[in-house]
Symmetry: C2
Subunit: 227 residues, 2 copies
């Protein structure tokens, strides 16, 4: 499904270079459920942004369903991103003066012109209920708790039924019970719907829900172990 070959990413800040990914190679197969771990600042979000077509590598290849996409047009990457990938940001990235419901259904405005606005709204309310937040549908992000914002970001990533879900620390703001409910949803999506999941986490208990753990260390993939 996805193959990264010898991927490098260096940020440049004027005259200063910040090398982060230093030759990442990895394969993600259809139906995988992978936990990505590594210390703070090791490059996990950087890797996720590249996987999610939100950023380009400095060098190296990104094969997506057989197509090399690291240097294709922005339009092509935006198409893939909107159609194929659900992304949960580490800092949520919700739209500020926008209700929880409208935040959740936002991706459908790019991809689902055939759905009636009533169907769209219904889908959004279903996702709100799935995450126990139907009573907060009209709240804006500043009127939600941290963990509620996180769940809205998760719901939004699922509204398009994406075949691939990239989740950057999706349970960091959740108590263990609420976190377990979210992981249970991910498990079901992976086992029943065959959705491929890459999940960044700092928590070993969360990582244990995945089928495989990949560790990032010094900008490369450390030897991975199965769970």
């Amino acid at each position: 499904l996805i193959e990264l070959k010898n991927m490098y990413k260096t940020y440049s800040m004027g005259e200063v270079s910040v090398p982060v990914l230093k030759g990442i190679s990895l394969t993600i197969n259809n139906g995988d459920f992978i936990a990505l771990m590594g210390s703070s600042g090791s490059g996990k979000s950087t890797l996720m942004n590249i996987l999610g077509c939100l950023d380009r590598p400095t060098s190296g290849e990104y094969h997506f369903e057989g197509e090399e996409i690291s240097s294709v047009s922005n339009d092509r990457r935006a198409f893939i991103r909107n159609k194929k990938i659900g992304f949960i940001f580490q800092n949520f990235n919700l739209l500020p003066r926008t209700s929880a419901l409208d935040n959740i259904i936002m991706p459908l405005s790019y991809t689902a012109e055939h759905l009636s606005s009533e169907d769209v709204r219904k889908k959004g309310m279903e996702l709100l209920s799935l995450f126990g937040l139907e009573e907060r549908s009209h709240h804006e992000p500043s009127q939600l708790s941290g963990g509620q914002q996180q769940r809205i970001a998760i719901a939004r990533s699922l509204v398009n039924n994406p075949p691939i879900l990239l989740a950057d620390e999706p349970t960091g703001n959740l108590d263990s019970k609420t976190g377990e409910e979210v992981l249970e949803i991910f498990n079901r999506l992976n086992k029943q719907n065959g959705i491929t999941i890459v999940l960044v986490t700092h928590d070993n208990k969360v990582a244990a829900h995945a089928k495989k753990i990949i560790n990032i260390m010094d900008g490369v993939v450390a030897p991975s172990k199965g769970t």
Copy 2:
């Protein structure tokens, strides 16, 4: 040091009321190290914002060092907030187009007119080193990882040497090693410098570092247990 008596907080959104705190009473003594726990949306950040003089209760009393401050002037509350309280926000609240170093030393511009700008800068660099981020001093928040931003927010809360530290989920974005380093710093501040700490966390392992755990449930304090 701090006493809350029968504290209520209800948010009003037009015609809708959202009751959150429903009669919180608690005492925080000098030198306490308290972990505040409760499920997502239970009111922990709401309580922390009231403790930090960032928000006022709907009713009830807030006694701070013997002074009832829930209804005193904004100026008085701002004075207490700047001089006495270090606050670590759940979403960091760093200034966007501002370097890590400048973010850290920002509180000193309100409170430390007697320090030379060289001393201020030196203090900021010491805190950056304490958190292992001296090489990131010139990065803006968007050029930092989630856990690095969290550590900058933590450093900023300490720059004033506050007698009270309010930390809203300070390790959520940190791997266990980096999180342990932060908690070690908190431990030292509490044991050696006598700083009073209230720390919100979802993680039982983090809560175990505190001397006492307070649980918030259905808007009130559930029976607390020692650690």
